[in-house]
Symmetry: C2
Subunit: 429 residues, 2 copies
């Protein structure tokens, strides 16, 4: 009978998608000659809000105004923004409830308990002093997340536009495509931070593969917005606590009570470190395998060593989970593709390290139990999807086995599941 | 410092394999014209003992005497036989320990504790009366397993030879291949019961695809020896308890104390039922999908409806984990192959049902936790193997993408991992 947090979320994504579709539809596309179909526009809106970057239409059909709308949709759909909003709402609810409890004496005890559970405050902290500290810290946390979100996106956009104004190659590409520097920078910064992976060019990042500087700017943007968000959030809280005396107490409280706060991106210290190690571990493995196997890959022709290394780093990173590409991934060797598929499958905060800390034991155990349970059923769902696609595509599989083979189907299904957005495309070889 | 049960097992399999190799080498093959290489003989011996049926040499090169040796190797390597042997040894150890404790008073308490854990008796049952009942029941259990093992194999062999002496088609096939009825029947019964999957013909069961009677005899043999062993063992214990008054108490004790006995194939009632439902569920799914998608498969030409249905049932069942085949599996559609790969991956006693029973809760939780942990690392190992094969075969993958593609590699790796023994072969299309 209690409201499942699943439904508000679905409602939010659906209504933002519909609104986005309406606005995209109302605005004129870039040229009058080609008008995207309604379905394509709706799909673009959903892809932006769910940050999956699966597109059925080329990006350059969108006008500047439409690109701005897509930027806003990606921003509104990003995990950092939605989780921050949930945090602000829960804080507000809590405030109203406390206020109500102070005014009226006949409030139902049940409501308080349910409210407490819903807003994530464990009932053990029933001490009024602790409760106040808890409220205060949660408020502090929500503003830290807000600051982080704005800072990373604004700085990212600024650095991208600064870089492009100095790099004549990248600048001329934008000019030839009729893209404004400002729109492109903000779009790319937001898309990378939310790990959506849309880029306003038809070729995604392929046209920028010889601009290692731009890739090196986008790489931290992608990391800060997804897999490395928890460690850097923790780091921000720690730094603020040290620098600003006023919030020292809140900072300490947050860093120590990660479990009680129940903000899903605030992780304990040890787990944050494990996350950093895991992310870097997978990245390094991917990069090494990629460099060894595909040094002389055809798309790398005309790129020097530095450009290749940065390109490989960029491409490997994008398997988790932004999905931006600097090359046609169907040209990559099978071994790298299998590893990329594994990486796409992994949830953002997967940590495969032995982690044990007494205080966190219990909390972690639950979380791990849950993630393992999910692991099994996720594989079941993925298998069912792959089998269904194999059934519907069985004509193509027999007639065109090079383009329609089981591994390509698995890769596409996993890519969609992890909302990465990689695709093998259709080769005419 | 304690002896890990892993090492005695490895030592056992290794020494039996080496012994088997020596005996196979000493016996003359069927013809003088072709002598299998030493490596092939050793591989055949290892494949028999590990019941994986991966073969590098055609089966018809082996003489009758060599086939008998392979039968013995499969019998010695089968899970029911090895687990029974472990049970007998642990019972004997226990007896000696109790005797030693009675004679000498200065036995180390540590030894008793270690011994108790090793032989699987929980220390909570320290009451002498319970201990005696426990010993008695374990002895009863070991003889039930022995009886089950002998009965199923002997009856299976008898029914196979009886059937073939009435089916002229199957009989003439054996005659044309120069195989004796007795050798063939015992070999097939043991190979099916242990889920090894070797058949003394070069074509495995393909030559018998139009003998539905033979397939219907082998199907229960495969089930009784692997996935449905625990339910039928439980059933046997229950029936014996009802019929033979003398063992009624032991039977009751065994059925109630499945956890305490720690014989891995004696499962609680509910879990046994879940296992039956899971096995049948996967089997029915596979059969339905197979029938719908491949009714007009080329190898089915000239087979009537009944033969096709039995053939499909047989082929589907063999994915878990016997690996006998009535058709070239590379002709099967991708959807069925993906499902077969999932089935090959599943451990024999996988139960994907919601099972909750208060008394068994704790015990199950541990087991499930463990199986889930294994699930994650198994997938990691499989991914690593697939990536390694993709690296070593990268030349073939680029030059001959139809025969060497990622899905074929995944299928072979999973097949080897589940010791099924399916292979896609090499097609010259
Ligand atoms: K994405
Ligand atoms: K097998």
């Amino acid at each position: 009978l209690s409201v499942n947090p699943f439904w508000p979320r679905i409602f939010y994504f659906l209504s933002v998608s519909l609104l986005g579709f309406g606005v995209l539809k109302a605005i004129k596309p870039r040229t009058d000659s080609f008008k995207p179909r309604n379905l394509d526009l709706f799909f673009t809106s959903v892809s932006s809000v769910t940050v999956s970057s699966m597109s059925t239409v080329e990006m350059e059909v969108f006008s500047e105004a439409q690109l701005v709308v897509i930027t806003i949709l990606m921003f509104l759909g990003g995990e950092v923004f939605t989780s921050m909003t949930a945090l602000f709402i829960s804080n507000l609810k809590q405030k109203l409830r406390r206020f109500g409890a102070k005014v009226g004496n006949h409030s139902h005890p049940e409501n308080i308990i349910n409210g407490g559970i819903e807003s994530g405050i464990p009932m053990t902290n029933s001490n009024p002093e602790t409760l106040r500290e808890d409220d205060h810290s949660r408020k502090f946390l929500s503003f830290v997340v807000l600051g982080y979100l704005l800072a990373v996106n604004l700085i990212g956009a600024a650095v991208v536009s600064l870089y492009i104004s100095f790099d004549s190659t990248a600048g001329s590409i934008l000019k030839s495509k009729g893209l404004k520097l400002f729109t492109f920078s903000v779009f790319t910064a937001v898309s990378s931070f939310t790990n959506c992976g849309f880029i306003p060019t038809n070729e995604n990042m392929v046209v920028f593969r010889k601009s290692p500087g731009l890739l090196l700017i986008i790489i931290p943007q992608i990391l800060l917005g997804n897999t490395l968000f928890p460690p850097f959030l923790r780091f921000s809280i720690w730094v603020l606590g040290k620098v600003v005396k006023k919030v020292g107490k809140d900072s300490d409280y947050l860093l120590k009570n990660t479990g009680g706060i129940r903000y899903p991106h605030l992780l304990p210290s040890r787990r944050s470190w494990c996350l950093v190690v895991t992310v870097l571990g997978f990245l390094v493995t991917q990069v090494v395998l990629f460099l060894v196997l595909e040094w002389n890959l055809e798309p790398f022709n005309g790129m020097n060593s530095f450009e290749r290394i940065v390109g490989v780093l960029f491409q490997s990173l994008n398997a988790r989970h932004a999905g931006e590409t600097i090359l046609d991934i169907s040209t990559i060797s099978a071994a790298s593709l299998v590893l990329a598929t594994v990486c796409m499958y992994l949830p953002p905060y997967a940590t495969y390290l032995f982690l044990k800390e007494k205080e966190e034991e219990k909390h972690l155990k639950k979380r791990r139990e849950r993630s393992r349970k999910n692991g099994v059923s996720n594989i079941a769902y993925l298998s069912i999807f792959v089998i269904l696609v194999c059934i519907t595509e069985r004509e193509n599989i027999t007639q065109d086995p090079l383009n329609f083979n089981v591994f390509n189907i698995v890769l596409e299904v996993v890519s969609a599941y992890g909302s990465v957005g990689f695709t093998m495309g259709y080769s005419c070889k």
